[in-house]
């Protein structure tokens, strides 16, 4: 079954490690996107109780 679904998977092999500049750019992107998601309330807890029984 899955073998026939082969077309659904693309493999990416990282041949070289990211350069310092590329890594920096991705890290900045990560932090800025985290900030945006927090600001917009996406994927973030509405309060710290959620994990203790909050109905989220």
């Amino acid at each position: 079954m899955a073998k026939q679904g082969r077309q659904s998977i693309e493999e990416t092999i990282i041949e070289e490690a990211l350069s310092a500049k590329e890594l920096e750019q991705l890290l900045v992107g990560f932090l800025e996107a985290l900030e945006k998601e927090q600001r917009l309330g996406i994927l973030t807890p509405k309060n710290e109780d959620e994990v203790k029984g909050e109905s989220a």
């Binding site: 079954m1 899955a2 073998k3 026939q4 679904g5 082969r6 077309q7 659904s8 998977i9 693309e10 493999e11 990416t12 092999i13 990282i14 490690a17 990211l18 590329e22 890594l23 920096e24 750019q25 991705l26 890290l27 900045v28 992107g29 990560f30 932090l31 800025e32 996107a33 985290l34 900030e35 945006k36 998601e37 927090q38 600001r39 996406i42 994927l43 973030t44 807890p45 509405k46 309060n47 710290e48 109780d49 959620e50 994990v51 203790k52 029984g53 909050e54 109905s55 989220a56």
Partner: protein, 606 residues
């Protein structure tokens, strides 16, 4: 036989409900691939569940607050925080993962997925230059269907499980054969300390504890505490052995107050002199740790809840769930997973749910062992003198399909409501997606009944049928043009130096492809039911990887061949449904609920 370990990193930075669904998918995968060595990366607030799964190799929590707070306050810039984030990341970058699996499907997580060294990436990621990379089929589907307004019928847990298992089969090995009937959901899903005494009577064998999770993540998904109280009062009044335990976070204390006040009012209205009901209700609102909360949800006989994490937690612990589904909830994607859970909703015309309707469904569900589902829901509601509720509700029972039926969860409708175009389409998308990504074709019309087909649906499908024909012809034309472009460019020694006649022909084909593309855009946006496939075409075209014209043209032809499989599925379902709607001789069969019949039973005041 020793199998080499497969190191995978799973990024799940979303809420607890998503975290639990991911853990279910991972548990299923690990039963088939015990060699999986899983690093689970979780949001610091939602790591509790993962930290109690001993079969995870490592749980890494993202201290979001400490990174985001200085940014939000403007005290630090993202660039100045790099040393801290790099320190956090360091242990994760020491070795290359076999698979990095981003199950958060968010922007931030895609950057993290792009940073972690990996052989295979599934889910949203980033190219070296920071642009979005969506490589695998299920992620294309999530991007163009699941994260849009289009309804589809494949549960998220099934999507995640299939995505991972397919990748494991393709890139690594076949699953082990001696799985020994292990169940994914079980009371022992988490390893946690148990509290000896939850409350008085908790372990009494003659009592049935029903957990009610007050509240929901959003106001529009919340069933009001007054309704919960009315439901609780009905249960307590009619079932002597029933006890209620209320659950919720500290911020939900006011829901608890409103619930108790409404329960008292119910008692008063019912002529109950002392607070008999209240003595049978225990509240743990704002008082639970993760351990206690999960213990209560795991030990209770029933959990009744709106769209909350409690619903997933109860399901994973093998407790039966009645999901009071209110507001904009896509229960087919995120409803309780497992066999025998119930979902009750209002209808699009009357979305509010009454406590009487929920009570009727709960009593039907909780007496299944007695009636063995030989009695239908209509008879049960008639026995309760509540048959007039039926036209205003939709009720579903969850069922895991047999593997020869395609597996995965299905929510079987227990009331024969006519199906809307939107819900019909969600079934078709589920079918098409399984054909696309599982390489398995379920029978056309699976789980669609003749009685669900209304004249309105027939009218809509006739219109859709015309759109399908036009778009499919355009796709066919696109494939022919792209194939011709491949033939023209493949034999060229250079894409820069060529005969003028070749250049003109290539130019001509390029223009033709652009024109067809514009037409596809126009037709694809004319009908809601054509939009998802059109959106998928955009996602697939965005993710082409070829550098040469011939490679891009070849990939383009592949994309449109792939889309045509979907168009074909859509056409087959449309034709099948239209055939189903044709008049035919009716033979006597098992009674079904007739909505008209139910409407006729409405009292004049209803």
């Amino acid at each position: 036989m020793n199998r080499e370990s497969i190191r995978i990193a799973v990024i799940q930075l979303a809420r607890l409900g998503d975290t639990i669904q991911s853990l279910m998918a991972l548990r299923a995968a690990r039963q088939l691939y015990p060699e999986l060595e899983i690093t689970f990366i979780a949001h610091e607030s939602f790591a509790a569940a993962a930290e109690r799964c001993p079969w995870l190799h490592r749980v890494v929590t993202l201290p979001t607050e400490s990174f985001v707070k200085p940014l939000l306050s403007g005290k630090r810039s993202a660039k100045t925080l790099i040393p801290e984030i790099a320190t956090w990341l360091e242990p994760l970058t020491e070795q290359t993962f076999d698979i990095v699996l981003n199950w958060t499907y968010s922007e931030a997580s895609s950057f993290l997925a792009g940073i972690l060294p990996a052989r295979v990436r599934l889910g949203y990621s980033r190219h070296r230059d920071g642009t979005l990379s969506v490589k695998d089929g299920w992620s294309h589907y999530i991007h163009s269907v699941v994260q849009t307004e289009t309804l589809q019928s494949i549960h998220l847990t099934d999507i995640l499980t299939t995505q991972l298992l397919t990748a494991l089969q393709i890139h690594f090995d076949e699953p082990i054969e001696d799985v020994e009937n292990q169940s994914v959901t079980s009371k022992g899903f988490f390893t946690a300390d148990r509290s000896a005494a939850i409350c008085e009577g908790w372990s009494h064998p003659g009592l049935r504890w029903i957990a009610i999770q007050l509240g929901a993540s959003r106001e529009d998904k919340t069933w009001q505490p007054e309704q919960w109280a009315r439901l609780a009062s009905m249960i307590l009044r009619r079932h002597d052995d029933a006890r209620i335990i209320l659950l919720g976070g500290k911020k939900e204390k006011q829901l608890e107050t409103r619930f108790l006040a409404a329960l008292r009012a119910e008692e008063k209205a019912g002529g109950v002199k002392s607070s008999l009901f209240e003595r049978r209700v225990q509240s743990k609102v704002g008082k639970t740790t993760f351990e206690l909360w999960s213990q209560i949800l795991g030990d209770a006989q029933w959990v009744i809840s709106a769209d909350t994490a409690a619903l997933h937690l109860a399901a994973v612990l093998g407790t039966r769930v009645l999901n009071v589904s209110t507001g904009p909830v896509r229960f087919r994607e995120t409803g309780p997973y497992g066999n025998g859970h119930y979902v009750v909703r209002g209808t699009p015309e009357k979305p509010e749910l009454s406590a009487e309707a929920v009570y009727g469904v709960w009593t039907y569900a909780s007496t299944e062992w007695q009636h063995r589902r030989e009695m239908n829901l209509a008879t049960h509601f008639t026995n309760l003198d509540q048959r007039t509720q039926l036209p205003d509700i939709e009720v579903f029972r969850s069922k895991i399909r047999a593997s020869d039926q395609g597996g995965g969860i299905h929510y079987e409708a227990l009331i024969d409501n006519p199906i809307s175009l939107e819900n019909w389409y969600s079934q078709v998308m589920g079918h098409v997606a399984r054909e696309w990504y599982c390489g398995w074709v379920p029978p056309v019309g699976q789980e669609l009944e003749r009685t669900n087909v209304s004249p309105a649906l027939v009218q809509n499908l006739r219109k859709l049928s015309e759109g399908i024909d036009v778009l499919d012809r355009l796709y066919g034309e696109m494939i022919r043009s792209a194939d011709e472009l491949v033939a023209r460019t493949k034999s060229l020694k250079s894409e820069h130096l060529m005969k003028i006649s070749d250049r003109e022909k290539i130019q001509e084909l390029g223009n033709k492809i652009s024109e067809i593309d514009e037409l596809c855009e126009r037709v694809g946006l004319t009908q809601d039911s054509l939009r998802p496939i059109h959106r998928l075409s955009r996602v697939l075209m965005h993710n082409l990887t070829g550098k040469r014209i011939s490679d891009v043209a070849e990939e383009t032809a592949e994309v449109y061949r792939f889309l045509r499989i979907g168009m074909n599925g859509l056409r087959n379902w449309t034709e099948y449904t239209l055939t189903l709607a044709r008049p035919m001789a009716v033979t006597a069969q098992a009674p079904v609920i007739s909505l008209q019949e139910a409407r006729d039973h409405r009292s004049p005041s209803a």
